[in-house]
């Protein structure tokens, strides 16, 4: 019964460390977990009747093709997926109110998941493997469960910087300097979870007044607001802009683009990327297996291999590329996700009136 004792000890550890608080600083495990943990193999049992069935997934995740291939190989359950940002998925679910559009919602902004749950669009399911996930990374009632952390960074084009004689910024404050005038790109926060989490994270970190004041100076350096979440990092890769606010690290560097990742030292926004089962899922049991699989140690390792994000389980090693970009030293913001979900309309309204309208 090694497994049970491991689970118990982990649960105990988390409850001690985190104290059930939803607003605490995330605990990160930059070092690979101790070796005695890795010998323990969790067993994911799949009902033979589910083999060959299909689970329909709406996904916003890197390397999803490889991830889903591995899932099919492990469980025999087939995956059909559609690449969609979480705002789009939420809109589709609302438009089709009542008629399920798929089984699984995989990755994206946690604000959309919380909004969907408030409208009763998510099936609640507490996976037995969710005990390994810290409480601030999951919904207490099982509406959604975090599978990895999305960390907001600034993708910075060193080529353009050199041409303009600008230094690599270290903080949000740095990015307000005149040398970045017209060179900072952020998506429209009413569309992008990345941008909204950044904006509301600034407000929570610096306080409402100071946060808006800082944001107004950042806004002064933005030529416009991008209309797609993926646009700023792409634009930074291509040298269309010097600095782009992005979910995750500057993966363009691998392809040869002259970009580096900056985690602002005065607060790096982040959120747990969730997985959830859609209300009325036609393959509910298959969907549950998928959620379970994502949360197993093996599933977590597969996720981390194909999209370098911090895993939610302490016993899964941090991807090396994250360590190389200096993520373990990043100063993560303390964010209350339910609170930023609650004030969303007010923040967006103010942003639209004071900033968007003036562009």
């Amino acid at each position: 019964m090694k497994r049970v004792s491991l689970l118990l000890s982990l649960m105990l550890a988390f409850s001690l460390v985190l104290g059930g608080c939803a607003t605490s600083e995330p605990e990160l495990a930059p070092e690979p977990a101790p070796t005695e943990d890795t010998t323990d193999e969790e067993v994911l049992e799949v009902d033979p009747e589910l083999v060959g069935t299909t689970v329909n997934v709406f996904a916003a995740y890197g390397g999803k093709e490889e991830i889903f291939d591995q899932f099919e190989e492990d469980t025999g359950i087939r995956i059909e997926f559609l690449d969609m940002s979480s705002g789009e998925v939420l809109a589709r679910m609302q438009a089709e109110a009542g008629s399920p559009i798929g089984d699984i919602w995989f990755g994206g902004g946690v604000d959309s998941f919380i909004a969907a749950d408030n409208e009763g669009l998510l099936e609640r399911y507490v996976s037995p493997f969710a005990v390994n996930v810290p409480e601030e990374y999951k919904d207490a009632d099982g509406a959604w469960t975090g599978i990895s952390l999305v960390v907001v960074s600034v993708v910075f084009n060193t080529d353009v910087a050199e041409e303009k004689g600008a230094a690599i910024p270290e903080t949000w404050e740095d990015l307000t300097k005149p040398e970045y005038a017209g060179e900072l790109l952020m998506p429209d926060p009413s569309i992008s979870g990345t941008a909204y989490t950044t904006l509301s994270g600034l407000l929570q970190t610096f306080g409402e007044d100071e946060g808006w004041e800082l944001f107004s100076r950042l806004d002064a350096n933005m030529p416009f607001y991008a209309q797609r979440g993926g646009e700023p990092p792409t634009a930074a890769n291509m040298g269309e802009i010097m600095a782009g606010i992005a979910p995750g690290i500057a993966t363009g560097a691998d392809e040869g683009y002259p970009v580096v990742t900056v985690f602002p030292k005065d607060g790096t926004p982040w959120w747990p990327a969730p997985v959830a089962i859609m209300e009325g899922a036609s393959n509910l049991e298959g969907a549950k297996v998928f959620v379970d699989w994502c949360l197993t140690k093996h599933g977590q390792e597969v996720l981390a291999t194909h999209d370098p994000r911090p895993p939610v389980r302490d016993d899964v090693p941090m991807p090396q590329v994250l360590i190389d970009t200096g993520f373990p030293e990043a100063d993560l913001m303390t964010i209350d996700f339910y609170e930023i979900g609650r004030i969303r309309d007010d923040v967006i309204d103010k942003w639209q009136k004071d900033f968007a309208a003036k562009k």
Binding site: L82, S85, S99, S190, Q227, P258
Partner: protein, 582 residues
Amino acid sequence: MLQPGSDTVSTDANRKERSSWSAPFRAHAETALQWLMLASLGVFILWPIAAVLKVGLFVDGRPTLELIRSALVDSRGLLGNSVFVGVTATALTLFIAVNVALWATRSGSRLSKPLFGLLLLTMISPPFVTSLSYVMLFGRRGLITYKLLGLTLNPYGWHGVVLMQGIGFTSLAAILLIGVLRGMDGRLEEASRDLGASPTSTIGRVTMPLLIPGLAAVSLITFVESLADFGTPIIIGGRFTVLATQAYLNFIGISNLPVAAAMGILLLVPSLIAFLLYRHFMGRLTFYTKGTGSAGEPMALPRWLLILTGTVTFMFAAFVTLQYLTILFGAFATTWGVDFTPTLKHIQGLPSTAFASISRSIRFALFTAIVGSMLGMIVAYLLERRRFWGRSGLDFIATLPFMIPGPFLGIGYALAFRDAPLALTGTLAIVLLNMIYRQLPVGTKAGAAVLSQADPEVEDAARDLGAAEHQVVKDVVFPQLRPAFLVGFVNTFTASMVTIGAIIFLISPGTKVATIELFGAVRGGHIGVAAVLANIIMLVTLAVNLFFSWLMLRRDATKEGVLSVPATRAIDQVIQRSDGGR
């Protein structure tokens, strides 16, 4: 077989009489067909539109203009931006297309043929491709502006949108105008010259006025396409936004359905006005093409015009060639803008799902093209050959999808078919139905153009010779419609292969098509993969186009019958499709 009360002179009156007396059974079948068509168009075109109107115009079940008003006020001049871009892009398209069409038909150059091929090729335009190539070539780090000329330009804004839309819509416009110019009665120009007019004044006072109906049709199509296009402004508009983008983002991003619906309604207004203006004025204009063979050689252009049209045509051709080459090479460049080493990694790296999506695209487009064109032929037959209650209504409804922005119809389907009695959410059926009814005007217009030019007395002759009505349809009407069916088929196929605007609201994981895969690649900034997908979509569509064009041409060459002559002439004029991917 003489009918009771009929004489040898065929008049409308006795035709009507005859059909109702001799074959009551057939009349019933036909009435049933009419009602069936009206009902199906009502359900799959009108109902989705009504669903959007309901969300945009009603709050808590009460009619209100509150949402429209707030969309107008909050949208900060979006309507103005849309109309501005629509008008300027249309003007640009008209200017280039008239020059290209004049040069292609009147220069006598050997390059006319390859030019026509280029126009046909560039009519196949997968979504986002022009914008993508624009950034790759003219962006701040663009191949031409930065690497070659050392310039750092800001390409984002209304000028980029107008330029790319104007050039993007030119191919279709030029092909339509070439069709009109070719169908024109050359004797009119000859008469003008014989009476002593100079070539310049002949062009100005004979040719151009004859071209006006064609110009009007082209303007309408371009204007509506421009209004509906959200792919271009969303990628290269920068801070410049239009109604189509905002309606899209309101639906997609903020999931504010009422505002999205209200903006969609606002977007419909200029389209509708343009359409009604067109119908109003076109009623008085005629294409002077009927019943005349083209007499003699087309008039040569005056020298100054030859130079002008030649220059514009050359610049246009060079520009679009560059664009398409960029996409072609983009598929093989390691990292565009950084490392141009040739590689196959983007092709080899295509996920298996991409091939499934491409195969789905082809199957869906084939199905849509066959069913849609057949439906179009039936509607065309009813419109051109039958008089019945609701005929003009049928005509109007069948034309509606032409001017309705794609996203509008997509949202409409999502709203209309989510509940009983027709709960189609997430099914294959909703995607296919949307594609079929959205492209219906293509087949209908092709069929109607052929039938309106064919003499109904041929059918009467068959009847008088004793053919039963089903034989008339089978042996006289269908053979005439065959070329129209092919035109409808090819254009519906092409439009379906590149469509995204409407179905993006309807697809589910099991019905993902290639354009959606392409959208994902563009969004993720994977330029190489996006270029590979765009090339595959273009190659497949081109292959199908070429195959059916060959089929069509072969038939014309071997069977130059009485009926096929007006039919082929009409084809030139009706190569029109709705706004496909935009």
